[in-house]
């Protein structure tokens, strides 16, 4: 146990299920799918023609002149951060901005800006490339825009660990507070790459579902019929705060971020270790860091992306590191895979599960994989008292991040 407790005092999100945390959570608890058929012209040329697009477009929220200067991934990070910040009650609280940090990452970054500006370069020449191109495509852009709006001066950080990014950014926030470098860190992940090039790249890897005629059933973690992930877009942001600081100002406290474990596989650039060795070590580290054991974990929000290999490896890791007793769910069955935002959005789901004593469902689990010996909340949300829960995130490159949240 460390001497510095860190708690969660604010939540913000914009996702395929809703434009804020409340609507996203409501969608999850009701087992709604955010996946739909892409109707854009370019999609017709792709093997994958489905995605989980944002429920509320950023143009409905952010004024147009400001939006023009931001990549979509930056705009939605800002939307989620604004909600989390308002929710925390820190605005106008007299917080010393030199004690406020930001840790927000993205898996792919401003790729759509890069590609759109390249179209302009090719068609109209260098002089017509937008002067906003660089701040729009730089990977630290989402963190920087959020830091700028909040006036954060303790440091603005960007981590990139593919699909583990959101969770690793939250883990960095924990470290920043524990090490005394900040009292409050606005942390999370963002992703917006529903564009033909990233989709073609993932499709060429055969990583994505091609269930084009049945989009709402395409993301089906642990089901025998799973055939890859469904790309989603969105952002999730949490406000992490030194517990003493939060209690001193009488803040609403959602949960405690009790521990974090990070490892790397050292195995393959994209394939997970088949027995989940790196994941097992990450979960073990997180449990020890949190001062709990596998027995204490009663709920797991799994990474489970609906890929044939990854889903099974995580089953093995959970069995080894935690046991088969927790109630497990894969919310990606509803949101699709938000890549760099996934770990952040799923942390929010984990935190709300603790608060509301309920586990959101894993939809589409009609014919469970023979290897599945875990207790999954299939089809319907399941009421459950949750003193401690685990959230897993894994990313291309062999990144493994496990976060333990406990009741405050």
């Amino acid at each position: 146990m460390t001497s510095v407790d860190v708690v969660v005092t604010g939540l913000g999100a914009t996702s395929p299920l809703g434009g804020d945390v409340a609507s996203t959570w409501d969608g999850m608890l009701n087992g709604r799918s955010g996946v739909s058929r892409l109707t854009t012209d370019w999609a017709a040329e792709l093997p994958v023609q489905i995605a989980a697009a944002l429920a509320v477009d950023p143009s409905e929220i952010i004024e147009k002149p400001k939006l023009r200067k931001m990549d979509r991934s930056e705009a939605i990070a800002l939307i989620a951060a604004r909600e989390a910040w308002a929710d925390s009650g820190l605005a106008g609280s007299g917080l010393d901005l030199e004690r406020l940090g930001v840790s927000i990452g993205s898996g792919i970054g401003g790729a759509t800006t890069l590609l759109n500006q390249d179209d302009i370069l090719e068609a109209q020449g260098a002089r017509r490339v937008s002067p906003h191109t660089i701040p729009m495509l730089m990977p630290n852009g989402p963190a920087a825009f959020v830091g700028l709006e909040l006036g954060a001066q303790a440091g603005v950080h960007c981590v990139a660990s593919a699909c583990a990014t959101g969770a690793e950014a939250i883990s960095l926030g924990l470290d920043l507070i524990r090490s005394g470098r900040a009292d409050v860190v606005v942390a999370g992940g963002t992703e917006a790459v529903i564009h033909p090039l990233p989709m073609a790249g993932f499709a060429s890897m055969r990583a994505m579902s091609t269930r084009n005629d049945d989009p709402e059933r395409a993301s089906r973690p642990w089901d025998k019929g799973r055939d890859g992930f469904v790309l989603g877009e969105g952002a999730g942001v949490v406000v992490l705060e030194r517990a003493e600081h939060a209690r001193a100002r009488g803040a609403k406290i959602y949960a405690r971020l009790a521990g974090s474990g990070i490892t790397s596989d050292g195995y393959d650039i994209v394939q997970p270790h088949p027995q989940g060795a790196g994941a097992i070590r990450a979960i073990g580290k997180a449990l020890r860091d949190a001062g709990v054991t596998g027995t204490d974990i009663v709920h797991v929000n799994a990474h489970a992306t609906s890929t044939p290999v990854g889903d099974v490896a995580e089953i093995a890791a959970l069995r080894a590191a935690v046991g088969t007793h927790p109630v497990v769910t894969a919310t990606k069955s509803m949101t699709g895979h938000l890549l760099g935002a996934a770990g952040a959005l799923e942390s929010i789901a984990t935190i709300l599960s603790i608060r509301d004593s309920i586990v959101p469902p894993t939809i589409n689990l009609d014919d469970p994989d023979d290897a599945l010996d875990l207790d999954v909340a299939a089809h319907k949300a399941r009421p459950l008292e949750i003193p401690a829960a685990l959230n897993n995130s894994f990313g291309f490159g062999g990144h493994n991040v496990a976060l333990v949240f406990t009741r405050a």
């Binding site: 004024e63 147009k64 002149p65 400001k66 023009r68 200067k69 002089r127 017509r128 937008s130 002067p131 906003h132 701040p135």
Partner: protein, 81 residues
């Protein structure tokens, strides 16, 4: 050939579209930076849009001399084809 009034109106439309400036605030004596709060990157965009709209070339060396809306109007008026 656009008149001074037409150029002011055209610039006001561009500034509204690109930088969120109210059209009514765009008058000749206003400075882009201090009065209209147009940042340096957006100013580059405004110049690019003005070139397209009025058929002029505004070289980078000239851009820094365009402090006020009136400066830009005068340059465009003198150089439009």
């Amino acid at each position: 050939m656009a008149s001074r009034e037409e150029i002011v109106t055209g610039l006001a439309d561009i500034l509204n579209e690109l930088a969120g400036v109210e059209q009514a605030d765009v008058t000749e004596e206003k400075t882009f930076t201090d009065d209209l709060d147009v940042d340096s990157l957006s100013m580059v965009e405004v110049i690019m849009a003005a070139e397209d709209k009025f058929g002029v070339k505004i070289p980078d060396t000239e851009m820094q001399n365009l402090k006020t809306v009136g400066d830009a109007v005068s340059y465009i008026e003198a150089n439009q084809k």
